[in-house]
């Protein structure tokens, strides 16, 4: 049984009287110790999916309209808010895209980590502080004994993200959800943070859901990848399969948009057009207005998900790799 098993997740956003679909029929599974990458452009629904898994949509304009999220055999969507909170921050933790603003500016980082520990573990404040110190050491913050009493504004973005990771690991979660954890960081710091996440995963034995718009990052640390476009998963496969046999035109477009660091290119092969807004109805396949392979059938019928090979699912009328 998978650690995390999402079936047909439907999310809708309240817009006036209407409920517009933002995530539709998303099914994902994450095994223990596995890393799943969810990739897509801004607004494709990947972050909302992450927030839905974590249980942070409550109080927002986004509603869960259907589906199930089974975590360690229990449907999280069926839990009471109290039961749900016992999972959050304990067996499941999350780090965010904005390290600069994700820590509370008025408390020392050590106290913020300690709060995460004491919420779920019975121990003295002294023990919790020692644990926080260990965590800071674990995420390789230099001079943790001094840093534990620093305020967030006294730290760099990379260090704050390390503190966020330390906080997320406070209770040794089985699942870490990382929503664009390196996007706001310098390239060199990005590498360090990814490296850190990978080593912590090996050490603690946890699964990771990594949300990213960057196929490069995903290819480096994920075991499998789901590509999302406009609220739906358009391609899903193991990382090696996906990169050797990309089938969805959108996935190919994403890969083409990565600037090469090996040689200079004048033009990036960016995907033409833009993601349609929520209230724009697109008949047929949501990607067809931007797709190089689109024809009449793409304009009229939305393709269903089909397996081009075992464990390689594509939502496209004309999957690329298999036919060529």
């Amino acid at each position: 049984m998978a650690l995390l098993d999402i079936r047909d997740l439907d999310l809708r956003i309240a817009r006036g009287r209407e409920l517009l679909p933002v995530v539709q029929g998303v099914s994902l599974a994450v095994e223990e110790n596995e890393t799943l990458g969810i990739v897509g452009e801004s607004g494709c629904g990947k972050s909302l999916t992450a927030l839905a898994i974590m249980g942070l949509l409550e109080g927002s304009v986004v509603r869960i309209a259907g589906g199930s999220v089974h975590f360690r055999g229990r449907d999280l969507l069926a839990l009471s808010p109290d039961e749900r909170r016992r999972v959050m921050g304990d067996q499941m933790a999350m780090i965010f895209q904005e390290p600069m603003t994700s820590l509370n500016p008025v408390y020392r980082v050590g106290d913020q980590i300690r709060e995460a520990i004491l919420q779920h573990r019975r121990m003295s404040r002294k023990q919790a502080r020692d644990r926080a110190l260990d965590l800071l050491e674990l995420v390789r913050i230099p001079d943790p004994l001094r840093r534990i009493d620093s305020f967030p504004h006294q730290m760099s973005g990379g260090q704050r993200q390390r503190v966020m990771i330390a906080m997320a690991l406070a209770c040794d979660p089985k699942l870490l959800i990382a929503d664009e954890p390196t996007t706001a960081l310098d390239v060199t710091v990005q590498k360090e943070v990814l490296e850190l996440m990978r080593s912590l995963q090996a050490r603690n034995g946890m699964s990771i859901v990594l949300i990213s718009h960057d196929l490069g990052v995903v290819s480096e640390i994920c075991d499998k990848v789901a590509v999302m476009y406009r609220g739906k998963i358009v391609e899903q496969a193991s990382t090696s399969t996906l990169f050797s046999n990309m089938s969805h035109p959108y996935t190919l477009g994403l890969l083409g948009s990565i600037p090469s660091t090996d040689h200079d290119v004048e033009w990036l092969d960016a995907i033409p057009g833009r993601v349609p807004t929520l209230d724009e109805a697109v008949p047929g396949c949501a990607f067809h207005p931007r797709c190089f392979a689109a024809n009449e059938s793409c304009r009229s019928a939305d393709p269903s998900a089909s397996a081009v090979s075992p464990a390689h699912i594509v939502r496209c009328h004309f999957p690329q790799g298999s036919s060529s």
Binding site: L56, F96, E98, S102, N104, V106, E115, H153, M167, A170
Partner: protein, 315 residues
């Protein structure tokens, strides 16, 4: 921090000079002079001139100002024309009432305003929020003289729980129990001010609750009430602390209407009456002290900022 405070006290000097000069000149623009008001309608011009000379009012304005300033620098604010008492002791009498009244008012604001503000922020959009917001608007709009009179009608005349007017000093007979004279006026003053604090706390908590670090707090699995108090309110307090300071300052110096309704010998009423009596030394003295008081509150607000927000450092 100490350096900062010292610096601030030094900047007080030019501000005070400017304020005292302006006040001095403005007062003398008011038609009528203390001598003729003291002596009444029946006084002959000779008597008025005689008294003016006695009070030093026949000198040129510049000379009067410099003389006054010289005395102030030696700690002498002069003598009240009306009371024939040192200005300092006249102000001290009023200050006791005003500071106690303002303190009691702040007490009500904190006891009622803060929790209601927090609750309406936590339950924003619910009927609780609608009710408190509506109530706050109502209390913010009701004139204090109307509310004061109704409180007197109900709690003094009707129920006889509290006295309706006056305030004997705590040093007089009755001691601390004289504070009961301030209950109704402080409630009257608290109503509109608490309403504003409620709105302010609600608005700044809603602002803070949209910040990323609140999402982090929720992701830890904290109870929503803990998130609201420890994370949201604690940050909202930074913005609200300034309002507390200035509300207190205004309560001490500007509670004229309430002081009048309850016949309290406070600072606000002292200023207004002194202006009517053309009691120049008292007006000047009070305004000078109010300026110092406002600047002290300002300094306290800055110190509060620095202690509430670690990102602020005072230099």
């Amino acid at each position: 921090m100490l350096n900062y405070a010292l610096n601030r006290v030094l900047t007080l000097v030019p501000t005070l000079l400017a304020a005292s000069f302006l006040v001095f000149m403005f007062i003398h623009l008011i038609p009528g002079d203390p001598a003729s008001i003291l002596l009444g309608d029946t006084a002959t011009p000779e008597e008025v001139a005689e008294l003016s000379r006695e009070l030093g009012l026949d000198e040129p304005l510049w000379t009067q100002y410099v003389l006054w300033l010289g005395n102030v620098l030696q700690g002498d604010l002069g003598t009240s024309v009306f009371f024939r008492e040192p200005v300092l002791s006249v102000i001290a009498d009023g200050a006791e009432t005003s500071v106690l009244l303002a303190t009691m008012t702040m007490f009500w604001i904190v006891v009622f305003g803060v929790p209601i503000g927090i609750i309406s922020a936590i339950r924003h959009g619910s009927w609780v929020d609608q009710a408190t917001s509506g109530g706050a608007m109502l209390f913010a709009s009701v004139p204090t003289f109307w509310l004061g009179l109704y409180l007197i009608l109900i709690f003094s005349v009707g129920l006889g729980w509290f006295p309706s007017s006056g305030f004997p000093s705590l040093a007089d007979e009755g001691g601390a129990s004289n504070l009961r004279y301030l209950v109704l006026p402080s409630l009257t003053l608290a109503a509109p001010n608490a309403a504003l604090i409620i709105r302010l706390i609600r608005a700044s908590m809603l602002d803070v609750s949209r910040e990323d670090h609140v999402r982090t707090a929720r992701a830890k699995g904290l109870h929503p009430v803990r998130v609201a108090i420890r994370h949201v309110f604690r940050n909202a307090l930074i913005a609200v602390s300034a309002a507390f300071g200035f509300t207190f300052a205004a309560l001490v110096s500007e509670a004229v209407v309430t002081e009048t309704v309850f016949s309290l010998p406070g600072i606000g009423r002292l200023v207004v009456q002194s202006i009517l009596r053309r009691d120049y030394p008292v007006i000047q003295g009070v305004i000078l002290i109010i300026v110092v008081f406002y600047m002290a509150i300002n300094l306290l607000v800055d110190l509060a900022y620095a202690s509430l927000d670690p990102r602020v450092s005072l230099k």
